[in-house]
Symmetry: C2
Subunit: 260 residues, 2 copies
Amino acid sequence: MTQVEKTAGMFMPVTIGRASEEIVLQVEAAVLDGRLAPGERLPSERDMQVQFGAGRGVIREAIKTLQQKGLLEVRKGAKGGAFVRSLDVAHVSESLALFLKLHPVNPEKLIEFRETMDRAITVLAIARGSAADKAALLAGAQRLEALLREPEPDLAATDELDRALNLRLARMAANPLFEWVMSALQMGFSSHDYALYADPVFREKAAANWSDTAQAIAAGEPARALSFIGHHYVLLRQCVESRSERPGSVEVPFLNEPSD
Amino acid sequence: MTQVEKTAGMFMPVTIGRASEEIVLQVEAAVLDGRLAPGERLPSERDMQVQFGAGRGVIREAIKTLQQKGLLEVRKGAKGGAFVRSLDVAHVSESLALFLKLHPVNPEKLIEFRETMDRAITVLAIARGSAADKAALLAGAQRLEALLREPEPDLAATDELDRALNLRLARMAANPLFEWVMSALQMGFSSHDYALYADPVFREKAAANWSDTAQAIAAGEPARALSFIGHHYVLLRQCVESRSERPGSVEVPFLNEPSD
DNA sequence: TGCAAGGTAATGGTCGTACCATTTGGGGCG
DNA sequence: CGCCCCAAATGGTACGACCATTACCTTGCA
């Protein structure tokens, strides 16, 4: 390594307390104030071992922490190493999603919250979404409807498409905070919509309603769109309530284990 | 360790891919489906080394990751070890704060999101909040107004009180999701509010408006309350815009470092 | 000359061992 | 009976070795 490291002198040997925490703080500070930009590469573990005056295990633990924080991305092999990463909103959503998985909420509360978000997002998306976005949303909704009208719908595929559509809609709102929350909600719980599409009674109505909603959005008709959204959540509430009336598997209602 | 570990047979030796990731997944799964409850202690690193059939470094890296996720808390010394922790919303806040530091979102987006939440919360709080809650909210708002009318207001105190009022309002909505999301975003908001209360021009109006809002909520008048909330955000927008017009200290606008 | 195959060096991933630092708890001594 | 000190448990750190993967370069063949 004859090439001069940019990070030469950027880091101080650690002396106090938990060494790895100290390293995390130093690197994090360097990223936050721009001394390290996204895409830049940190020295190799063995070089940092020298710069920080610490053992390699400590360096690796610090990198692991920073990786988990979403600040670093690690590639192996020659020209590999730890690279500064531009933290994306999905990472923050994961954090919230994990929290939500550990704190089960009443389905009604979840529906209430989602409906609130959905209404706000829809209005914003109509105002800000591009024509291409709206066309794509409509096409997706119609594809979802087609999938759901098949005699034996692929629920995994429809669930996935439903998620993608919701996420696209949130993105059209052009406000990362809405995107963050919706994305977290999707990661945190998902089986409501899944259940909605699982029931053949609700499936068709919900599918048609999605298309209607997308059409209203594409046409720039917020009032119509909000009506359809209201309809969607009426269906969802009916579906959830009808399931909770039936005994059996009521105890663990809406948290699906990501079984792998 | 003659005592039988509860975790005996709970974990499988790792064989595939990145070993530490595999361990993280196994422990996370155990926590998520309740096999490991908050407060419980995992085996010692040396024991897990045997259970997972991996080196100690790998175990430690997995623990570090889980610690960073907020799922574990590590204590050293005898009777120490890794303990399952009940993930709190503050952890999500940290994650979001880091994101906001790296991707400063337009203050307008922040305000937009918050206004949406606030309107929904207000309507719910009026419908569901107890009389005692409403009285306490009103009393707090009036105390805030009194504090802000002093010639030299204690901005730290008013900021704290404002925070408490917002949190109380969110709690009155009786939907934990609103409360969590508002909590997670508190620190993104706080410097805006700080600016609002720091400016003597806006201070008085905002203070009076808080009281008006609380009064409308206490009186069960949603339309009035929403009008006042609209007024609040008009003020906030004016304040932010007037600050962004003035050069100087615009670079570091709204995130205050939680220095500890 | 061009391209493909194999070698080589850089680098993260894993393992093992040894030792240090901290905390708990109990046993011995006053 | 109470205080102090030592021993055990356990996380924290260091060092060294080797493996696996990857990018790059050299060599040799067409």
